[in-house]
């Protein structure tokens, strides 16, 4: 066992426990940061400095995006069984992963990476299967992907620079996805809003969950009849912001003609 890698693996798993068990968004963010930074580094040989820098930059950007999505949020769902239970689950999975390194065949990576991967995947199962909180579900997805990446490091040849680059893109993408989901959930009533409309819920499911379009059709807006042949077809919805959108443009209303100067 490589003590340095073992320490890194332990820190990464600790971050994952923090991410799934924390109720404070800042704690969850810290956990995500640790997992995204530590996961790719549990490798032997270590990635080259450029790859590490790329990973760090991607992680910071991803965590920043998530932080933007969670800004002002006081509390998240977190775990219901407490962090010690989550830590025990992770530890057990890590032991299994370490002990079964290579899964019955010679592996090309370090056993610590497989321990990390197994622990992260085990921690991801509960949020993914039973999560009712947007952030918790998203953290589960993140842990699953990072865990799979760690298992890949443990089994296969060391990742190339290109793989690290694409891994960085994946990190940014999942950070952005979590940020988008968190922002949308909070706009819709809070991080727990993900429970609304679930199958089996007593309330009837609304027929349409689309965002109201930026431009409404006359028919859709109930603007009444009279839009005959050749009439302008679509009206812009009122837009927030500086410009005021397309309102008042020629061609947006029936019979309107541009004035020649």
């Amino acid at each position: 066992m490589n003590p340095a890698l073992a320490a890194l693996a332990a820190i990464t798993i600790g971050g994952a426990v923090l991410a799934v068990a924390g109720h404070d968004p800042r704690a969850v963010l810290l956990g995500i940061l640790v997992v995204l930074l530590g996961g790719p580094l549990v490798a032997d040989p270590w990635p080259d400095p450029v790859a590490i820098l790329v990973r760090i930059a991607a992680t910071l950007l991803a965590v920043r995006l998530v932080a933007i999505g969670l800004r002002g949020e006081a509390l998240t769902g977190g775990t219901r069984i407490g962090w010690p239970a989550e830590a025990l689950v992770a530890a057990a999975a890590a032991v299994v992963g370490f002990g079964s390194h290579g899964l019955g065949a010679p592996a090309l990576g370090p056993p610590e990476a497989q321990a990390t991967g197994f622990a992260l995947i085990a921690l991801a199962i509960a949020p993914l299967a039973t999560g009712r909180d947007t952030l918790r579900l998203a953290v589960g997805a993140l842990l699953l992907l990072v865990g799979a990446g760690s298992v890949r490091i443990a089994l296969d040849a060391p990742p190339s620079q290109a793989e690290h680059l694409v891994g960085a893109l994946l990190t940014i993408a999942i950070g952005g996805a979590i940020a988008v989901l968190a922002t949308a959930a909070r706009a819709a009533g809070g991080l727990a809003a993900v429970g609304a409309g679930r199958p089996g819920e007593s309330r009837p499911r609304p027929p349409d969950a689309h965002r109201p379009p930026a431009r409404r059709t006359r028919a859709g807006a109930g603007a009444g009849a009279g839009a005959g042949a050749g009439a302008p077809i679509l009206e812009p919805a009122p837009r927030e912001g500086r410009s005021g959108g397309d309102r008042g443009r020629v061609g947006d209303r029936p019979g309107e003609r541009p004035e020649r100067q």
Binding site: P106, S160, R211, L234, G251
Partner: protein
């Protein structure tokens, strides 16, 4: 030309379009410009060109060129339909970025890296699946999509790592390869939302803009499936292992998706749900391709992928255009739509013919081959003919369109073109002939200028006709691809030959050749000895060669071309 310029343009244009999405016109303009540039660059892909970057090769191929070219053209038309109808602010940028990530994934030569790229592209789609301002249930839809993407990505990453190394004695156990094969194939089924993994995909139509559905449910997953097809062709199929159980599971999923997807589409009232379920039905044939485990599956599967993505994009564009015209997607409220939108009626008919086809058509033949290679004869015949049932779906939509117009259609906007200004008649004051001639010329020039100034207003005034024409063009494109146009069949069966510069000047990178024997990982060797061909790579059926090492070394029987 390599794929690198294409990827650079996609990254810059997509990111810029997203960053300035608050300004709809500029965002759309950047996306349109980017997609136009991408189409030009894609047309210039050399089938033998590759570029070494960050320790890996980005390789082009005939099939990848067609995929990128069609993706750019289809994206352009989808953005046009979106701009003419609902105008979702995030859609143009996401279409550009999604296409870029798909092409990146297909150009990579390492399966694990390609899977990560395809998953990253799918994650970008969440921006349109759960937009800020949508109902709470949209968040639920987005979270489900994220979960499906993560599970599919994790399964595929695990599978590629699992048999990407030497196995020693474990290599003789078919279950090892069977599990990896099943995991990757199920990942593809999950990404497509094939039945029974369809719940997240079915709900996607509730929240995601219709114009983004092709990207989320067809183009992105198609890239993922292409990676799986090559990986299976290189790593599993050559072994000749008895994987009957795994193949049966996949064949069942594929056949069920085809049949039940069509049934579900038939009973839907919401047209976006009809699009979603027809995508699930068509994706069933992709799952059948994965179940084939036969070199003969190579060409039809890649033909079908192109037919499928373009055809479903055309249908989705048609639905968005219809929604833009009449403000509803519900069939029961759309009585009489065809009377007020005849161009859309023609587009539906053309798209339907392209989607259903007839025996002998390239698309039909590809479906029949995929079914025959994966299923017993009787079932294969039934599944191959099942798409004929889609005729009833299209006929139902058309029949409703021919009914007397309902309130929504009456108050909606038809396709009759209009012009915002009239030709102004100016009084003639000249007396002499030459004088009057010059005056007439000046009047004509002024009149033309008047009309030119009115073009933007005319475009706004004719949004429905323009959207209808874009939908018709897409339907025509789908018909052409179904018929084997654009060299689909040749590209689907193309053999790659990659030319890459070396440190010593122009040279050639050894390319992993078509494997005919077991991959080296099945043998008790000390190093990973088989790897991946480019996604646009060659079938495993080509004889006389074996795989090669990850750095391109080792035995190789591939064709290598050069100056």
């Amino acid at each position: 030309m390599t794929v690198l310029p294409f990827l650079l343009v996609a990254t810059i244009a997509g990111t810029t379009a997203l960053l300035i999405r608050g300004s709809q016109r500029w965002s759309t303009a950047v996306a349109v410009g980017g997609l136009g540039g991408m189409a030009v660059l894609a047309a210039g892909f050399g089938p033998t060109t590759g570029v070494r970057i960050a320790g890996t090769t980005l390789a082009a191929s005939d099939w990848l060129r067609l995929f990128a070219l069609l993706g750019s053209i289809v994206g352009l038309l989808l953005v046009a339909v979106d701009a003419a109808t609902k105008h979702e602010p995030d859609v143009p940028g996401i279409i550009v970025l999604g296409l870029g990530s798909a092409v990146l994934a297909l150009a990579l030569t390492d399966p694990g890296t390609a899977v990560a790229a395809a998953t990253a592209g799918g994650l970008a789609g969440i921006l349109v699946a759960a937009p800020v301002g949508a109902a709470a249930r949209a968040v639920f839809v987005g979270v489900r999509e994220l979960r499906a993407l993560a599970i599919a990505g994790a399964l595929a990453i695990g599978a590629t790592a699992w048999i990407g190394r030497p196995f020693g004695e474990l290599g003789i156990a078919p279950a090892v390869f069977g599990l990896a094969y099943l995991a990757f194939a199920l990942a593809v089924a999950i990404r497509f939302g094939a039945i029974p993994f369809h719940l997240w995909a079915a709900r996607l139509a509730d929240a995601a803009p219709g114009v983004a559905l092709p990207l989320l449910m067809a183009w992105g997953p198609a890239a993922f499936a292409a990676i799986a097809l090559v990986w299976i062709d290189r790593s599993v199929a050559p072994l000749g292992l008895p994987l009957d159980t795994e193949r049966s599971i996949l064949a069942t999923i594929g056949a069920l998706s085809v049949v039940l997807g069509l049934v579900a589409a038939w009973i839907q009232d919401d047209l976006e749900h009809v699009v979603g379920y027809t995508i699930a039905a068509d994706a069933g044939f992709v799952v059948l391709a994965l179940a084939g485990l036969d070199p003969a599956v190579w060409a039809p599967s890649r033909t079908w992928l192109l037919v499928f993505v373009v055809g479903r994009s055309a249908f989705a564009a048609w639905v968005v255009a219809l929604h833009g015209a009449f403000g509803t997607r519900r069939l029961l409220e759309l009585a009489g739509w065809a009377r007020r939108a005849p161009v859309l009626a023609v587009a539906l008919a053309v798209g339907a013919v392209a989607a259903v086809g007839w025996p002998g058509l390239v698309a039909w033949q590809a479906r029949a081959d995929l079914a025959r290679l994966a299923l017993p004869d009787v079932v294969a015949t039934l599944v191959a003919w099942a798409p004929l049932g889609a005729t009833a779906i299209y006929a139902r939509i058309l029949w409703i369109g021919l009914q007397p117009p309902g309130p929504a259609v009456r108050t909606g906007v038809g396709e009759r073109p209009a012009w915002p200004i009239r030709w102004r008649h100016r009084p003639m004051v000249g007396v002499a002939g030459l004088e009057r001639l010059l005056e007439r010329l000046a009047h004509a020039f002024g009149g033309v200028l008047d009309q030119l100034w009115a073009l933007p207003a005319a475009a706004r005034l004719n949004r429905v006709p323009l959207a209808s024409i874009a939908a018709l063009v897409l339907a025509g494109l789908a018909f052409a691809i179904s018929g084997g146009g654009f060299g689909v069949s040749a590209a689907a069966g193309a053999v790659p030959a990659i030319e890459t510069p070396t440190d010593n000047g122009p040279g050639f990178q050894p390319v992993p050749g078509p494997s005919a024997g077991p991959p080296a990982s099945a043998r008790p060797t000390a190093a990973p000895t088989f790897t991946f061909v480019p996604i646009g790579g060659s079938p495993a059926s080509s004889p006389g060669s074996t795989g090669s090492g990850p750095d391109g070394s080792g035995p190789s029987g591939s064709a290598i071309t050069g100056d």
